[in-house]
């Protein structure tokens, strides 16, 4: 009954999304669903029942006007409907691949420059296993539901900035701990892993602009 949700959410546009409003929407959705089920039980087709139920609601504006309006309509965030599992699989594969390659490269350089002790191989193995697991879980999600459509906000600038900030913070802490503990140079996989995470944002931006991942926008009162 996606159509009912679209209808109700649409009616409450421009209203501040307080818990009270969300509850009113939830109540409306449940009641409308019960009404549609009743009409279907009386022999109406699903589409017919949906139309009748929504028409008999009449005007929602009086009810909606009882709630506090949103203070100011926030700047509209650009969104796009994407095949989310397909997109995620590509993003994760590329990011984890790049991250793993960087790690492999650093290990080789490190071993060559004698910066990294042989024991680092184990931590590298663990990190690579995580990368493989990450890609594999994305693949399984994609295989299970290849056509899931999700509307994503295209706000990569802010996300990337946050990711870089987190990466810098985590790297700094790891480095300080590394220096303080006076042990081997073990913090570099954390640098790379954090950087890989930030990289996913850029990769997703790049992929999200490719038509291959764009899904048709969901329409409002269309069939569920």
């Amino acid at each position: 009954m996606e159509a009912i949700k679209y209808y109700v959410k649409g009616a409450f546009q421009g209203v501040k999304a307080t818990p009270e409003v969300l509850e009113q929407q939830e109540e409306l959705i449940a009641d409308l669903t019960a009404k549609v089920a009743d009409l279907v039980a009386q022999g109406k087709s699903e589409d017919e029942a949906l139309g009748m139920a929504i028409a008999s609601m009449g005007d929602l504006s009086t009810l909606v006007s009882e709630f506090e309006p949103a203070e100011e309509s926030p700047a509209r965030v650009p969104t796009a409907a994407v095949f989310s599992t397909r997109l995620d699989l590509h993003v994760i594969t590329v990011s984890a691949g790049v991250g793993a390659a960087v790690m492999l490269g650093s290990t080789v350089i490190g071993a060559w420059s004698a910066l990294i002790r042989p024991g680092a191989g184990f931590s590298l193995l663990a990190v690579l296993a995580v990368a493989v697991w990450w890609i594999r879980s994305a693949y399984l999600r994609h295989r299970e539901s290849p056509d899931v459509v999700e509307v994503r906000e295209l706000v990569y600038k802010a996300r990337f900035r946050n990711a870089i900030a987190v990466w810098a913070g985590v790297s700094l802490i790891a480095t300080l701990l590394n220096i303080a503990s006076g042990t081997d140079f073990w913090c570099w996989p954390i640098w790379v892993a954090g950087g890989t995470w930030a990289l996913t944002v850029k990769v997703e931006k790049w992929f999200a602009e490719r038509a291959k991942f764009l899904a048709p926008e969901p329409e409002l009162p269309e069939r569920p």
Binding site: M1, I4, E23, Q24, E26, E27, L28, I29, A30, D31, L32, T33, A34, K35, A37, D38, S56, M57, G58, D59, L60, T62, L63, E66
Partner: protein, 117 residues
Amino acid sequence: MNETPISSDLIRGHIDTIVLGLLSAQDRYGYDICKQVTLLSDDEYELKEPTLYSAARRLEGQGLIRSYWGEESQGGRRKYYAITAEGRKAYQRNLEDWKRARRLIDRLVSGDAEKEQ
């Protein structure tokens, strides 16, 4: 069934009492209340859901009914309404008021002034 549907203006002022009356028998969710109104009225009057929700919010604000979330159904959780002790008192009061008003209005609109003579 009547040819012309009952003017909803005549009923609107009594929606609170109607809702309280339906809830005094048992707890109900929104659509159920609307359905009962249609049944009771023999399809002559339809209580629209938005009107009901507004009334329910008002009654809950006055402490005459309370609400709680019921079991998960196909469309999500249902919100049930229950009458409070305060609500039962208000219902009895409204009912008495209505009966008195009905007798009075019956006399007034009949235009029958025999008693005066």
